[in-house]
Structure formats: C-alpha cells, structure tokens
C-alpha cells in the first residue's frame, strides 16, 4: 500500500514527510528492542513513543513510517530529525487497535 492511501485510511495528519512511498508490512509496539528485532524495510510502525530514539530505530530499520495513535504528536526537533532521515511521521485520531485493524483489513502483512 502507498503511504498516500494509508493517510486517507487512517484520517491521518502528516507531521513529517519522508522519502519512501510504499508500506511493506506493519507492526505495533512501544518497547524499542522488540521493534528493533522486527524492523523491516518499508515497515509502518505504530507507537505512542515520541522521543528522538524512535526516529533512530525507524531509520536503522529502513522503515517507511511511524504512526502515532490518538492524536499524539512529536516535538518539532524530533520531526526535523525524521525529515533528515527520510522517515514519514503520521498522527491519527484513531486508537492503535483501530489503526492495526484497518491496516490488516487492507492486506498489509505483519512484520
């Protein structure tokens, strides 16, 4: 699925625009070592964590985007880092549960 389609699907707001257009798989977790172990190229990662290391984990794992549920946002310096690393950051009003459900329904496979 393309990130542009994901944005519509999740009613998401784009906080930072990255450089990958396609999502290959999805995952949701807030413990960074579990995410690190699962990271795949093009992954869409749903998390409530908003600090700088989220961008480091996403970038080292070649992920496509970070999705923040329940309208959560990131501070501007963190978003600057996301742009620098080419990671898209989305904020959706939906819960993590609903986001994963919608993505799964659309055929995005687990990581």
């Amino acid at each position: 699925m393309r990130i542009s389609e994901l944005i519509t699907l999740l009613d998401a707001r784009v906080l930072a625009e990255g450089n990958k257009a396609d999502i290959t798989c999805g995952y949701s977790c807030d413990l960074l070592s579990l995410v690190m172990g699962r990271g795949r190229e093009g992954m869409a990662w749903v998390t409530v964590q908003t600090h700088l290391n989220v961008i480091a984990v996403a970038s080292l794992g070649e992920m496509a985007c970070v999705i923040l549920p329940e309208g959560i946002v990131m501070e501007p310096p963190i978003l600057d880092k996301a742009r620098e690393e080419g990671i898209t950051v989305l904020s959706s009003p939906k819960t993590a549960f609903a986001i994963c459900g919608l993505m799964h329904q659309q055929g995005i496979p687990p990581a």
Binding site: M36, V57, L60, G61
Partner: protein, 138 residues
C-alpha cells in the same frame, strides 16, 4: 582495511544512536548488502544503547576487512555479575527513566546474539564489559 572508534557517553539519550547511524552509513558506502546492513544496525544500536543506559561510559569500534565486519564495545564499568542471567530474554535492570522511553525489554543482548555470526561477551564486575561480534561478508 577500516577501523573507527566511537566514544559513547553514559545517559546521553539525545546522541544515542549516532554511532550506529555512522556505522551503517560507512558500511553502505562499502557496498555491504541490505540484509547484512540491517543485522549490523540492530546489533550496533543495542550495543550502543546498553553503554548509554547501563554503563558509566565506553566506546564502540568498527573494523572491516575483506572477510568480515567486526563490531566491538568496551566500557569502564560497572560490569555484569551474572552474564548468563543478563543474556536471558526479558531480563533487565533498566531504571524507570529508560523504561518510560521504551527501553528495558531485556531483548538487546539476545538481539545481538541472534544477528551476529559470532558473539562473545566478557564482563568483570567493578571493571567493565567487553563485547565482540563478527559478521561474515558473503
């Protein structure tokens, strides 16, 4: 062929991950495959963050020759009393600050062992911890 050292400060979460990012950038420039790049990135990040979170400071080293990538760390303490226990999935002594950021799953050392072709850890309580990992270049 190549040897680079990276000092890593204890408790510096704003710079945590920078050494790993540089290691990945250098290996990509050398033409290392995407899959190997991912494995080294996972291992170096876990290594770097353990120094930030659990040690009083130390360093990471990257060495590359025609056969393999060697990633190593050494820190100045406090060392690990029971290494077998520390290697177990889920074991963590991370403090509340680290846990609130999503560290402390107790998966860092297991992630390193899983991703490296050779993994060795030596720790002396009161002295420090040395870790070495080898990744074979296909």
């Amino acid at each position: 062929m190549m040897h680079t050292d990276y000092p890593v400060e204890a408790g510096d979460f704003t710079r945590a991950g920078e050494a790993s990012a540089d290691i990945k950038r250098r290996l990509r420039q050398l033409g290392v495959s995407t899959e190997l790049l991912r494995r080294v990135a996972v291992a170096s990040y876990e290594l770097e963050l353990n120094i930030v979170i659990h040690s009083v400071g130390g360093q990471l080293s990257l060495e590359v020759d025609s056969q393999c990538v060697r990633l190593s760390s050494s820190d100045r303490g406090p060392g690990i009393v029971d290494v077998a226990q520390a290697m177990r999935e889920g074991y963590s002594t991370a403090n509340d600050e680290a846990r609130s950021m999503g560290f402390g799953a107790g998966m860092g050392l297991p992630n390193m062992r899983r991703n490296a072709d050779v993994f060795t850890i030596d720790s002396v309580p009161g002295r420090g911890t040395d870790i070495q990992m080898l990744f074979e270049l296909a």
